[in-house]
Subunit: 231 residues, 2 copies
């Protein structure tokens, strides 16, 4: 079956969307790769108009399509059960959803506002006005003001990672001895700062940094071999 | 094999220790029950001196013993593999550890200080001086001051439950269609307020409240049929 992944793309092939990274890692974990990767812009979502919704990524697989990175992971798990499991079990799938909610609810908002001005530098030229307008309206301030003071705010962000840090003290990955989808959930978020900014959002002596380095090496360096900053 | 559970116990059979509740639920999930339950006091841990450590609970099973509720769950999973699984898979075990860290790191501290004066009312008569001294030294204030202002602080506590709440919007339990150890981790923490105070730490219209009611019904109402407050 022909597989097409519709991905958010910035200028010069910068790819900084966490859900898109989750899907790329999930595909690689399953030993799959999209036959075609279609870049989509913030300001022009016509490539995914067929799906009747505006979330990115969208994975099209033969006659079917799925939106939302967690739903895509569930689809891949069910459609390709003989390939390496993303969840380990139904219980693992349910707990992965909790990790997804934790990441989206507790980690993502703080990270986004620390990097929103840097992100703007990496969006597609056609998206610059749209991105600024939408983000400034959502957060109620200029991109410049939103990002200001991040040297202080980053400490609170790092503290919120405590449960991950503690887990990595006793196991190599969030999912145990080898990585699986819950690892890709957090890793996907971490690709966002790496792909838009040199801002050191994790400290190098943090066990989470070492885990992230290992994640960057997976699948022949899938996450490393893209335009990014060595943070 | 003879199984003995060493549990923290307060006055009048009040049992409000989260890790002890986790172990009680884990045992019930496995269809097991301790042959003997030995109450242990804060101020006198001589019953568990044999273990060479002071954490409660301790589970003694035949010739072996285990301390720390998460380690006890792992022991039960490995020692009784033919009984219902607590984790679902090795990946589920690893993610349960993450849930354990999240619960201990993010939820427990705020809950403890909101209820510490009420807790003191329920400790064993022999523990009252010791408990007050240790807690006031640890938190740097009187029990009364620590608990003050909880009507405001409880909002932040409820907000911290967001990832659990969001998960329960799409699945019946943290572990999916039926409860397992990660559910018992959070439920165990929630038994602490219920067993020491009438303070409404969750709102009745919260999906988490409905989940907790279901948890209280499990195993013939194991968590409900103890001295407690209907919160």
């Amino acid at each position: 079956m022909r597989m097409v992944l519709y991905e958010l793309a910035g200028r010069d092939n910068f790819r900084f969307s966490p859900p898109c990274w989750r899907t790329l890692m999930a595909l690689a974990h399953k030993g799959l790769a999209a036959d075609e990767r279609v870049p989509v812009k913030f300001s022009d979502k016509s490539p995914i108009a067929f799906s009747g919704q505006d979330r990115i990524p969208v994975l099209s697989d033969g006659d079917t399509w799925v939106a939302d990175s967690f739903e895509i992971a569930c689809y891949l798990e069910d459609a390709y059960p003989d390939r390496p499991s993303l969840f380990g079990s139904d219980r693992g799938r349910a707990m992965s959803r909790f990790v997804n909610e934790w990441t989206q609810d507790l980690l993502a908002p703080g990270l986004v506002t620390m990097l929103v001005r840097d992100e703007w530098d990496h969006v597609h030229a056609d998206d610059r006005d749209c991105f600024r307008q939408v983000r400034e309206q959502r957060f109620g301030d200029t991109l410049e003001n939103l990002q200001a003071g991040r040297d202080h705010r980053v400490h609170a962000f790092r503290e919120r990672l405590a449960p991950l840090r503690a887990s990595l003290n006793t196991q190599a990955f969030l999912c145990g001895e080898s990585p699986a989808y819950a690892d890709y959930i957090v890793f996907g978020l971490f690709q966002f700062p790496r792909c838009v900014s040199a801002f050191p959002f994790i400290e190098r002596n943090d066990p989470i940094y070492a885990w992230r380095e290992t994640m960057l090496d997976l699948f022949d360096g899938l996450g490393r071999q893209v335009p990014s900053y060595p943070v």
